[in-house]
Subunit: 217 residues, 2 copies
Amino acid sequence: MAKRRVDPDRRDRIIEATLDLIAAEGVAGTSHRKVAALADVPLGSMTYHFAGMDELLHEAFTRFATRISDRFERRMNEASTIDAVKEAVVEMIMQDTYGDRDALVLTLELYTLAARQAKFRHLTHDWMMRSRRAFERYFDPDVARQLDALVEGLSIHRAFEPRDDDRELVSNAVDKLLREAPLHPVAPSPVDASITFSDELHPAVSMPARRLRTSGG
Amino acid sequence: MAKRRVDPDRRDRIIEATLDLIAAEGVAGTSHRKVAALADVPLGSMTYHFAGMDELLHEAFTRFATRISDRFERRMNEASTIDAVKEAVVEMIMQDTYGDRDALVLTLELYTLAARQAKFRHLTHDWMMRSRRAFERYFDPDVARQLDALVEGLSIHRAFEPRDDDRELVSNAVDKLLREAPLHPVAPSPVDASITFSDELHPAVSMPARRLRTSGG
DNA sequence: CCGCCATGTGTACAACTGTACTAAAGAATG
DNA sequence: CATTCTTTAGTACAGTTGTACACATGGCGG
């Protein structure tokens, strides 16, 4: 009866369900059972596909951070003039990064995890690096760092306390930070595509996780 | 035998222990039992002094946010020239806000809570408002908001990824944001001391919490 | 002095957790 | 077809949790 015997997307679905659940109830409120229910898989699938809760969280946040970074890079690469870059940055602050509540919650949950557990820190590290690299297509490294921080702060504050005149204020702040700053008149070289999330640092994180049964013998 | 029958600071000690524990293991890793052990009180004291976990967290974070805001305001009030203000802001980013890991973790945990649960949001709201008001002693409201956001972003990024040249970079960013900006040459009026954390919004939060026993007959 | 009652204490309980393990079902290979 | 191995499924278990509640205690008003 509706026994889904072959289900190739199971892992994916579990990860997506995990992100949904974290967004809704936080890491604290996330359990194997709830994720299983949401992804419509039996509890046993959790421990089969993931070695433990930490691995599940790690994979879920890796996907989330990669997704956000990809979008960020795409937006930045599409811009071809400094004005277009400014426009893109403002746009990202206004809706992308923390535009929806889910993204804000997930980001903060990840930061919280990373702040306390070193094994999650490479996620935030890579995320920050990718956005800085993207900025460095147009600005020198120092300005890139400053801009990155401004985006972070404005995004968070705007997410908590949105106002009608936000766009204007954000745009003005970006302008001030970039004044006299742009060193590269326009994109010099495409972002190095080899900079990706370094999953190889956490090799245990890849595929089927179940311990080989201590095969009696 | 060492039965501390009178212990007026119990509540205080529990709250402090809670903050320590959250800093060490996060909200997720915080339990009545662990807090009780750390504060050296029996488990029963938890439910006697606080109606539940949420109230405990709320009180702990209220104390934390108040403490940070107080220090922030004091620093800002002590400055008497624009240069001194700039210096103070840089100094705060460099060590105060997220200077130690504990403060970073606690801040992020609070943000995470506030992002998902409305009942914690007035804490972050009041916190933001107080720091903006402090800035508004010297700058117009828009600049105050921009500066507040910059401080937020720089603090977080610096906490995750400290560098040797941070001070210079931070100072430069603050300069750029304040260029042509300071409208008030110097502090016009003291910060309104009546702006405090609005605990009265959460009246259940004050004192002894134990439900009156449904006293028979 | 007594007796009351806010305060402090220990324990029980039901709910929920992560994970290990047995067993089966079907795909893959010969 | 027979066998092997990956994947799926169900369940059991030991541990931890928040909270309720019955009981002890001692300071204080009378």
